[in-house]
Symmetry: C2
Subunit: 295 residues, 2 copies
Amino acid sequence: MKVKDLKQYSQSRAQLIEKALEEYLPGDDVVPEILHRSMRYSTLGGGKRLRGILALAAAEMAGGSRDTALPLAAALEMIHAFSLIHDDLPCMDDDDWRRGKPSNHKMFGEAIALLAGDALLTRAFYLLTRLALPGDVVVNIVAEVAQAVGSEGLIGGQVVDLQSEGKQVDRATLEYIHCHKTGDLIAVALRTGAMVGGAGEELLASLTAYGRELGLLFQITDDILDVEGDADKLGKPVGSDVSHGKATYPALFGMEKAKEAAQAAAANALAAVAGLGEEAWPLRELIDYILHRDR
Amino acid sequence: MKVKDLKQYSQSRAQLIEKALEEYLPGDDVVPEILHRSMRYSTLGGGKRLRGILALAAAEMAGGSRDTALPLAAALEMIHAFSLIHDDLPCMDDDDWRRGKPSNHKMFGEAIALLAGDALLTRAFYLLTRLALPGDVVVNIVAEVAQAVGSEGLIGGQVVDLQSEGKQVDRATLEYIHCHKTGDLIAVALRTGAMVGGAGEELLASLTAYGRELGLLFQITDDILDVEGDADKLGKPVGSDVSHGKATYPALFGMEKAKEAAQAAAANALAAVAGLGEEAWPLRELIDYILHRDR
């Protein structure tokens, strides 16, 4: 494998995570079968595995092993899948499609989708308890993940996002949404990954700062891609407000300022890991990748 | 306080749990306020606190302190509240009322109710990490709770219950529903409470057996009360199938056999704690209370 090839690096780790998820999710022949089919449908066979890959990268960077961190990576991807299933429900974003296939509730009905999300979240916490680490470290990891997901983390971000729909929001609100809805899980993936590797305070602080900026960068570029994609589809000029009344950077500041904000987040993320050694190259490459991705 | 007065015993512990929940839930002035109001609405000021009280009782019985077990008791009540909020949603049981007040989604809308449930479940796991116990014990408690709630526990029971609606189910299916939807959380409350107190295998086994029978007893008597209550309301003879197409003991076996099954569960529960000392009196009294309760 060529060193410093981010694509190969990510693919090999995504495969490990996929295999781990396959193993850590109950089989679809386990009662109640429909629930396990639904959980597997939305968790397996798709997604960039960004959160899982970041957890593995941070673990290795802190001197830990990838194998030890695998249950953590899988747990984070289950939590991500939970949040997408619930986000797609009719009472939330009401999305019929996800990752190119029908969303969970279109396949299994709303009730099973709701319960599959609940069960994935619960399974994630169970999986964290399986980490082969001293009890105190595991407890800290569970606590950090729960805080990142909870009412002042990812779920809090979803609430404020919902409440902002169709409204003109200010910068502080937009940053709250992005920071929590996307940033908290990304930052905690890096932090808890590093904790698996036994990282000290300094490395944890660098990775936390990097994670926050990366989450922001990810969300701004996502917003930009949404607007450009929609504009493409609708034949409207790029930068028009076609973002479904969602709070986004381009909608609030215009496309040019949004792109500047993405550049700034990328620069801040790079600065956050400037003190780390050569082995942090995947984190550096990832910034560039997200900044220039087309999905 | 009079010894052996179950009502006073329960009330004093329910008050402790209420105070703990009040403290462990974010205030309704914490952003996002509506989410925290919604979480507090469904968790505070109501309920028998059966699961929390059982956890405290088991902790004391195993020689632990009530104070140490309080975060566990509160976490179990948050999980119970989560399950009720999601159960009441339109895509599930579609209940407009809960504990004599409008259900969560009637007050806050479906999206906030969904997210409040998610956040309560997450908060419960966070709270477990705050238990002042050795890391390994906390990890075991988190694992047991996650398994009791997950796809083969409470949530699995909800799925099978849903799938059975309007169908004639067999005894095995009905027992699956009762054992998991109600029994697992009750049994794990006793088990993890005992783990807080440092219980050995023998006590754990007795409490587990007791918990399973108590859960069954609770569910059968609940079914009986539903039928009798509905029959009262509708002026139909007691024992008619007025249980909304739900799988219940009276619907499946008739009222007389259902009452016999309740008696049998009560006898088994009593036998499970026969080897325990005088200090197990609340567990013994509770059986009688549930058998003869009128709600």
